[in-house]
């Protein structure tokens, strides 16, 4: 699947990018919100792994852009080192999971699995 990884910290960005690449995903990365939005405009992604606190346009800026946008939207997993009060502000319809930094790689992958499980038949 097409994944976009957004984080201003180089070590984390490279780490998460490698993690999904090893799974066989097609991964793009961006170091801030502006770069992320221009990526989202050019390609279609199923998953967006997004940091919240970043220079210039932050994670909330990217989420606002997605909310306003028409058409298919990626599922979003937020990863953050910020205080819980901040995390409560993320829009729930877009964000399928939140991981607190520092996190286990397995936790992040489990969240992705859950997000893409087929909806149970009712």
């Amino acid at each position: 699947m097409n994944v976009l990884v957004v984080d201003d910290d180089e070590a984390i960005r490279t780490l998460v990018t490698r993690l999904f690449a090893r799974r066989g995903d097609n991964v793009h990365s961006a170091a801030d919100g502006d770069a992320a939005i221009s990526c989202l405009e050019q390609h279609e992604f199923e998953l967006l792994v997004l940091d919240l606190m970043m220079p210039r346009t932050d994670g909330f800026g990217v989420l606002s852009y997605l909310e306003a946008r028409q058409g298919p939207k990626p599922r979003v997993i937020v990863m953050t080192a910020a205080v819980p009060a901040l995390v409560q502000r993320v829009p729930e319809d877009l964000v399928v999971g939140v991981v607190a930094k520092p996190f286990n790689l397995a936790t992040l992958l489990d969240l992705v699995e859950d997000a893409f499980l087929p909806a149970p038949l009712s």
């Binding site: 070590a11 780490l15 930094k101």
Partner: protein, 696 residues
């Protein structure tokens, strides 16, 4: 009798005149004649009506003949007596023919309960009349004494009531200050109390306070005043501003100082003073009920104004404490974020290494990333430790002569790669001449590193950072400018404060804790220098300037004891030297070196002090800095030439200066200095120059 007659003079407040009412004018004038001759003041009245008017206006005794007391006359007199004040019982002397005495006495009951009657037999004995008259007037005088006593008591009571009101008003005002009321509420309270205590219909506080770098005007007008804030126009505000700028204590302004605040004739105005003694606002009173303002009013208003000033200061301190507290909270949140970020990279990459079948390429990346994140974290911890040392007062610097340019060049070199990644150009304009300061090389490196790191962080891709190092006077000036996001005027004063970041929103403008600049300022201070920042505002870049005193002698204090052991070092035994340098540390160091070599050296920090010292201390040689604030080295030279005839000798002089251009040298020597040495000088070079000068 004489004493009493002297008192017969009508004093106005104690009238002792005798009023006479007789049915015939002849009777009256006969009696008036007798009384006048005896020294009394007698006035005849034509009717009961006139007598009563006389009593109301004030009199000592009323004399009436029985015949004049017709029933209407008695009713009229009774009515007048009934309206006299409680202390007053005017003696009423009635002339009655002896046989009628009993009947007459009964009939006079018609004069009412307040009549104080003395019956005098007719025909009249002059002696009896005069003695009765004196008795009556003495009685009247005692009544006046009682009246004065009552008046005095009344006045005391009123004063007591007024001071109780003042006290309770002041107490209420001070309670309000101690309460949790907002500043506006406290000022309203004080305004209301001012109007109440000083019994005025209009009281107003007008005050300008600084809040978050903005000026807010507070208006408080006493409750029940006819005027409101809307009645105060721009012209009045201008007038208020002018009054505030001129008064320092409570004053009475008369002649309509504020035309536009309709009809305010006299105003009592007290300044609200700030800590620095500046007038921040005014407490004003007008329309004192039934009276003019008194010195008491002035004292009360001054106290209320002082209370208002205290309230303003309390509010400011409270706000500052709250801000500092909030800044600390924000800092802790940032700290948590900043510590977790590198931790995430380290932990994640370690997990990656543990995955089976990890590629060599990933291993290399992992090691590089772990190292980078660890360095970031180490730097954070270092900064935290530095700040904790600063707070504990335990940050020490190890001072020695340091050449500044290599330090700046090394740091610029370190940042070239990082700047290149983001297409940022670093321009450098560094002084060619050597610029030595007395400093801690590691800490100087840290200062430059922090400034440059900030500049690059805040500069967008493709931007420009410039680094300048120059000599200005006897200061080395390091300037780091960027074309980055700039600093808002509100934040500018706090840039160097601990726990403050440019932005506390989620937009993470800079990685790091925002401690770097606080550390920079502290380190610069420890080096005897100053740190400053300038920015034209958001989006307009910023410039950080560090000024450090340049070194005069290239020597560390620790090396001083070894100086004499150097074989090439000349001895300066017994040479008396006066050192003039506005930089205390520089002057002291030069003196230490010279004293170590046997000289008797003293240092002063200004030209004025040098001239004073020269009259007391017979210096053989003067060593002076050139660039000094106020009077410089050239001024010293001119004054020295003037006082030399008085001193009776010529004193050789040497310039020890950071000025190093050829034209500087020419000018200095042309002005009269015999020798010129550029800062920083090697101790041996300095000693040789002094020895040569001493021999010349």
């Amino acid at each position: 009798m004489t004493a009493l007659m002297e008192q017969n003079v009508d004093t106005g407040t104690r009238p002792l005149r005798v009023l006479l009412l007789a049915p015939t004018g002849r009777d009256a004038s006969t009696m008036a004649g007798i009384l006048s001759r005896a020294g009394f003041t007698a006035e005849t009245c034509a009717s009961a009506e006139e007598l009563c008017r006389g009593i109301d206006e004030g009199a000592g005794v009323a004399v009436v003949t029985a015949e004049a007391l017709t029933p209407p006359a008695m009713r009229r007199i009774s009515a007048t007596l009934a309206t006299q004040p409680p202390w007053s019982e005017i003696p009423l002397m009635i002339f009655v023919a002896a046989p009628d005495m009993d009947r007459a006495a009964r009939s006079f009951e018609g004069l009412g309960p307040r009549a104080y009657v003395t019956l005098i037999d007719r025909p009249i004995h002059v002696k009896t009349l005069l003695s009765s008259m004196r008795t009556a007037l003495r009685s009247r005088l005692r009544q006046y004494d009682i009246r004065d006593l009552l008046d005095e008591q009344q006045k005391l009571l009123e004063n007591e009531r007024a001071s109780a009101l003042r006290l309770s008003g002041l107490a209420e005002a001070s309670l309000a200050i101690a309460s949790a009321l907002s500043l506006d509420d406290v000022l309203q309270m004080i305004t209301d109390q001012a109007a109440k205590v000083i019994n005025s219909r209009f009281a107003m506080i007008w005050l300008k306070v600084e809040e978050n770098a903005q000026t807010r005007t507070i208006w408080a007008i006493s409750a029940g005043a006819e005027r409101t804030r809307d009645d105060i126009d721009d012209a009045t505000v201008v007038a208020l501003d002018e009054i505030a700028s001129t008064i320092r204590s409570t004053v009475l302004l008369t002649g309509r100082p504020l035309e536009s605040v309709a009809d305010l004739d006299a105003m009592l105005v007290a300044p609200l003073l700030e800590r620095e003694g500046r007038t921040a606002g005014l407490l004003m009173l007008a329309e004192r009920a039934n009276a003019v303002f008194t010195p008491d009013d002035e004292a009360v208003l001054t106290q209320l104004a002082q209370m208002a000033s205290v309230a303003v200061q309390n509010a400011r301190l409270y706000r500052e404490a709250q801000d500092a507290n909030r800044a600390k909270d924000d800092f802790l949140a940032t700290l948590a974020h900043e510590l977790r970020t590198p931790m995430t990279g380290i932990l994640g990459w370690v997990q990656m290494l543990k995955i089976d079948g990890v590629a060599q390429e990933d291993v290399d990346t992992a090691i590089e990333m772990i190292e980078g994140s660890t360095r970031v974290q180490a730097r954070l911890v270092e900064d935290l430790l530095d700040v904790s040392r600063i707070i504990a007062g335990k940050l020490r610097v190890d001072l020695a002569p340091v050449e500044l340019r290599p330090v700046v060049e090394a740091v610029v070199e370190m940042f070239q790669a990082r700047a290149g990644e983001r297409n940022i150009t670093i321009d450098t304009r560094l002084e060619e001449r050597p610029l030595s300061v007395y400093g801690d090389e590691t800490r100087l490196h840290q200062i430059v590193w922090n400034l440059l790191s900030n500049a690059i962080k805040f500069t967008p891709e493709g931007g420009r950072v410039s680094v300048g190092l120059q000599l200005s006077g006897s200061k080395a000036v390091l300037r780091v400018s960027d074309s980055g996001q700039g600093i808002s005027p509100e934040f500018l004063p706090y840039v160097f404060d601990r726990f403050r970041q440019f932005d506390n929103s989620t937009v993470r403008q800079q990685a790091g804790l925002g401690l770097g600049l606080a550390i920079v300022r502290h380190l610069v201070t420890l080096h005897g220098g100053q740190a400053a920042v300038a920015s034209d505002g958001i989006g307009k870049g910023s410039t950080f300037t560090i000024m450090l005193p340049v070194l005069a002698v290239r020597v560390a204090r620790a090396e001083l004891p070894q100086l004499l052991t150097k074989p090439e070092m000349p001895s300066l035994n017994g040479i008396r030297i006066l050192i003039v340098d506005d930089d205390d540390e520089a002057g002291k160091l030069v003196a230490l070196v010279l004293n170590q070599l046997g000289a008797d050296a003293r240092e002063v920090a200004s030209v004025a002090d040098a001239v004073k010292e020269l009259r007391l201390f017979e210096a053989d040689i003067v060593v002076s800095d050139i660039a000094m604030p106020g009077e410089d080295g050239y001024a010293l030279m001119r004054q020295l030439r003037e006082i030399e005839p008085q001193l009776g000798r010529h004193i050789p002089t040497m310039a020890l200066t950071a000025y190093g251009r050829p034209q500087d040298r020419t000018r200095i020597l042309a002005s009269g200095f015999q020798k010129y040495i550029q800062k920083p000088v090697e101790p041996v070079e300095l000693a040789r120059a002094i020895a040569e000068l001493a021999q010349a």
